[in-house]
Symmetry: D3
Subunit: 167 residues, 6 copies
Amino acid sequence: MSTSYSLTHVNANGEANMVDVSDKAVTHRVAIASGQVLMQPSTLKMIKDNSHKKGDVLAIARIAGIQAAKKCGDLIPLCHPLMLTKVQIDFEFASDSSGLIIHGLCKLDGKTGVEMEALTAVSVACLTIFDMCKAVDPGMIISNIHVREKQGGKTGHWQRETNDRQG
Amino acid sequence: MSTSYSLTHVNANGEANMVDVSDKAVTHRVAIASGQVLMQPSTLKMIKDNSHKKGDVLAIARIAGIQAAKKCGDLIPLCHPLMLTKVQIDFEFASDSSGLIIHGLCKLDGKTGVEMEALTAVSVACLTIFDMCKAVDPGMIISNIHVREKQGGKTGHWQRETNDRQG
Amino acid sequence: MSTSYSLTHVNANGEANMVDVSDKAVTHRVAIASGQVLMQPSTLKMIKDNSHKKGDVLAIARIAGIQAAKKCGDLIPLCHPLMLTKVQIDFEFASDSSGLIIHGLCKLDGKTGVEMEALTAVSVACLTIFDMCKAVDPGMIISNIHVREKQGGKTGHWQRETNDRQG
Amino acid sequence: MSTSYSLTHVNANGEANMVDVSDKAVTHRVAIASGQVLMQPSTLKMIKDNSHKKGDVLAIARIAGIQAAKKCGDLIPLCHPLMLTKVQIDFEFASDSSGLIIHGLCKLDGKTGVEMEALTAVSVACLTIFDMCKAVDPGMIISNIHVREKQGGKTGHWQRETNDRQG
Amino acid sequence: MSTSYSLTHVNANGEANMVDVSDKAVTHRVAIASGQVLMQPSTLKMIKDNSHKKGDVLAIARIAGIQAAKKCGDLIPLCHPLMLTKVQIDFEFASDSSGLIIHGLCKLDGKTGVEMEALTAVSVACLTIFDMCKAVDPGMIISNIHVREKQGGKTGHWQRETNDRQG
Amino acid sequence: MSTSYSLTHVNANGEANMVDVSDKAVTHRVAIASGQVLMQPSTLKMIKDNSHKKGDVLAIARIAGIQAAKKCGDLIPLCHPLMLTKVQIDFEFASDSSGLIIHGLCKLDGKTGVEMEALTAVSVACLTIFDMCKAVDPGMIISNIHVREKQGGKTGHWQRETNDRQG
């Protein structure tokens, strides 16, 4: 029943604060998030062709995503600052040529989960791709950013169900 | 034909650089972007109820979005630094209760467009909402982030067509 | 006798450096700081009335204070970077209507105290309140920012004496 | 009458946004703010003596204040980003040996005032002095931070009255 | 005669401040800086080979350099914040295989020169190359970082003499 | 043989990612880096004379270097964020009056080495000296930035050989 839940960052008076994780155990944490940029097939082809030569569009989006993961605590007000031990960004061309899929993986030995870091990495990688392609395709859509899987902490292993809602 | 287009941030050798806007005219620029967070109706209700009392979830997401707009040049590698003259974030509850819609508006008198700032504001507002509700609804999806409208610069007024692809 | 003291961040040659905490023990640290913004009763009333409706002035100051605590190592040159486990900002209306009192609490399991983080959180919350009210009350004064209490580390529990100097 | 005022950063719904300054004129702006750190005479003497030799405590506080002025838009959520043309920090030893007085001056040719930048510079300079002296004097108080004078913009020249409230 | 010069950032009392550029004219500014990373021929070959395939080492160093140019005012205490209109990073393999040469170009319409931005871009690009290759060549040396040429402002066009000191 | 080496930040596909240090042991790490700014003897004399009075040029460069060490993970894309326990910057006047030598020392108990932090501290200290003296000596050269010594981690103690290449 939903009354047993509560918005964790809002205290009894409805005021926001950074929740206390002092007494949480340090465990190994992993989170994987994904998202995609829907674009015209011709735009996708330009990225592909460029990646065959110099790879810069994807290389830049990858770097932007990695750096954003490290800035998560600065961007999301109530996120705890974290010392990430691993950030990885991978790209996949959608099989139906509708766009580019971005995956972000973050690892940490710490007291809080790292899904926000993975989501932030994916979001900023998507924005960077948008920025580099907007001159040729201003109608792109950043879509379907979600957590795929997370490990560690009290909830243990969590995996998104396949037939979940689609963004 | 696609050969008339080019990825503007990549030079003749496929190498990325911050494009030269020195000779562009300073014009008044406006951009509006939107996005949404798909969530369970019970999560949406919690945000609504909280907003009726203290409004903190939306207030925090609004602040996070505004601050992110100002950090756009730091997050997106090839974006020019800009002096925004206005940032506004608005929220709308989806009529079908599927989630929360976020609108971001940025203004500037400058040499480059501000759609990346508006998109960044919307993305980080979405991430902040995700962060604050993830304990009750880890399966949320950030979706349909796009530019709705932009004004100013050489291309003048651009508006997204209504029946465009859906994210 | 004062000759037994020394300014800890200045070395034998009077040169500043970030002191070595490598060999300090990791202990649980807490610090509480307070400060206030003196303002006209009518300004205070506006904040109160707004807080009864949407709470935005205080909500924004709270967020600004929390984010500032995380940036302390970036703002104060010789502060060590820290991984805070908790930040909380509370507001109190002065009983004599002279202004708004801000309390900031920071927690950490680490090698250095967190009073600078708590003081920075309070200072930036005060500045944010000033910013939002300066159009109606440009003569506000930020005052009496001090450490109330700290725990952890070699000095153990320290508490400010009640009849201490008043700022 | 107070009903003629309004909190400028809060819109008709009580929601905060960065106000639109697009149509404001670019004028030359100056703001001077002051504040002080109340400390024990022996602490003040240590700073004085150190300043006679290497001057590091004040030099570091000066740098911290200057850098903080440049970060004001990042620290105060609804501040516009600005391109400061001048930042100056000056120190004065209180005539009654009660502490150190800090003055901050900021200049800009722009659309918004620079008092928040001057106040932020002073606040962070105070925090830096606190940080460097806290080992010998944990009971210091940061006090009386206020705007002394501002020029430029629609309100023209504004100066604090001498017998104003004391913080 | 050297007595006619002065260290511009230090005032009459030897105190540092951000110099006042309010009354300087806005002119078009360009600065080009260069530097190099001396490395073993085998390390250089690895970068070359990688660049023939995916180009990531140089792509990452390029992005790091561009982003650092935008952060110059945050890194160098007395630098004015600037709105760069162009940043470009180019790489050259030293003809004697002793290492990699990095060139950085910055442009601005503003009141202050941009050589610090160009030098910062080159320095951070060098550091990034060091970071990526240090596992195979820990003895690399970053060397000969200098301004090659600058235009704009009161001094007009300045060019480094060819037979100048070598770093 | 060089085929046994690999660029650690580039994966099998030549793509860059932040390497996984989750399974590395936490050890005590120290790194010392050095660099120098070659300048005219008259410029060096001005710094010396100023340092005899107020010491500001070196004090500012020291602070800039310390703060830059803390920002290393933000500047160098694939660096892990670190919690430094000690940063120290020292200056030495070259015995042949050719310029100023800067030494940077960083310490950490962690999973990754700190040589990039030490190199970044030295680089930004050099840039700050350049900034403050460029009005009198625009032809300065930043040179010979290298790691002198490092301890901790799997490679243990590493020291640069004396007769190594000179930058």
